[in-house]
Symmetry: C2
Subunit: 241 residues, 2 copies
DNA sequence: CGGAAAGTGTGATTTTTATCATATATGATT
DNA sequence: AATCATATATGATAAAAATCACACTTTCCG
């Protein structure tokens, strides 16, 4: 599945690990390719949700925006991720938007064609279902993490999820998050403010749990972070952004 | 699907509306029945998640508990609901518990048998998938509602969801929630405290948005509640507890 | 290089929400 | 009717988090 064309950052297993190569192939076979530039949108809030997207390369961010200008970042997708949903309605609308963050090569399938595949192949259906199950569990555990231990818990959970998505283990035992994130971006992931994130970061630095290396987060004490959000060590395909 | 054996309260459409009767039948055919009393548990946090449950009659509450004694109510299930998850692991553990609230008649299937059904029948697979899609969207929109508009938003969203699950329209245009809920129970649904819920209730009463009729919530001004949580009028199968 | 834009850091203040305390109400049971 | 358990209501206080204000740093780009 990992085509080896990702020289930029360390890539961890994606949730399409649920698929055997042959079944993922069936899916990409019914897709047409599209190359998108940063700032482009896969879809906007309000668009009809009749497509399924597969990221061959690049990064996409799913965001819900409010009228008051507040943003809530729901998911960060990257190489190997599948975006979209099958439901019983023909005219379901997206309730969030998906923005391309880097030059992204994407496969696009029509929901109807995916449904056809599911209908035809039991094995494909089963694997697709397992992927859906994983996706749902990811949303559920994030809900839990955001609700149970305040903003510090939400932040630590998010750092751990980021480390599962972009983390590269270093020789000295620390973990480097190989994506730059501003305090604003982080605050949009946990429904907080950049100032609060800043203060929580100072606290974590003081506790020697993290350090910053010109813009990159380095995790020095993963267990400290895990303690704050009462981490339950979910599988890596579930504990992600 | 509604067997008409529910004399106690008004029943709204469940998310298994995604299934045709014949496919729901296929599912119940591979299930064995079990009658459970209030206080019993379908499963506990930590149990192996290898079963799928279908509620023929009764009520079940899914709850995540913390070591500090805090509870987070995740879902309220009732007649017609399906509980469980298909994922790629054989030994997945539940991360929350499911407690029976009333005498409940339940169908239990083994995950393996459900997977067999999915494998064999394209139509079943497709409908099962649609149900999974709806379930996920329900979790997602709840996540959104809990994150975006503070505790008052979370509470109003919850009242609206309750009205979609237990609401009975009255002749005077109000909606009666035909299940008694204490302030404590409501606070566990929104990650708040009973005192805060009580104060928010006073505010809503003052605004003539709700009133109480010996323990039951009556919605007088649904639009007021919708305003607080910026309701987007999701389908009723999605906007539920 | 220089200046604008974006990002960080931190005090002071306000708002939101939780906690603590206590009074009253309601309902079930004997 | 008296008692006990549970639930509601509300004031006072504390803690958590957001907002406002402003200084400083880094990055970007003509």
């Amino acid at each position: 599945m990992n085509t080896g064309t990702n020289p930029v950052y360390y890539t961890n297993p994606r949730n399409t690990a649920a698929f055997k190569t042959e079944n993922l192939q069936k899916l990409t076979d019914i897709m047409h390719e599209q190359k998108l530039q940063p700032g482009a949108y896969l879809f906007w809030e309000g668009d009809t949700a009749d497509k399924l997207y597969f990221i061959k390369n690049g990064r996409v961010r799913a965001t819900k925006s409010t009228d008051e200008g507040k943003d809530l970042v729901l998911y960060l997708y990257q190489q190997g991720d599948l975006i979209g949903m099958i439901d019983p309605y023909d005219d379901t609308k997206h309730w969030y938007s998906a923005e391309v963050l880097e030059e992204t090569l994407i496969g696009v399938a029509h929901k109807k064609d995916v449904e056809m595949l599911i209908w035809q192949s039991g094995e494909f259906a089963l694997e697709f279902m397992r992927w859906m199950g994983l996706s749902h569990r990811m949303t559920q555990t994030k809900y839990r993490d955001m609700m149970l231990y305040g903003k510090p818990g939400a932040l630590c959970s998010t750092i751990i999820r980021l480390s599962n998505t972009y983390g590269r283990p270093e020789e000295d035992g620390t973990i480097r998050i190989t994506k730059k994130l501003t305090h604003s971006e982080l605050s949009d992931m946990i429904g907080s403010t950049r100032e609060s994130v800043n203060r929580m970061f100072s606290d974590l630095r003081k506790a020697q749990a993290i350090e910053m290396d010109n813009g990159y987060i380095i995790i020095r004490d993963l267990n400290y972070l895990k303690g704050i959000c009462h981490c339950e060590n979910c599988p890596i395909e579930v504990c992600r952004m």
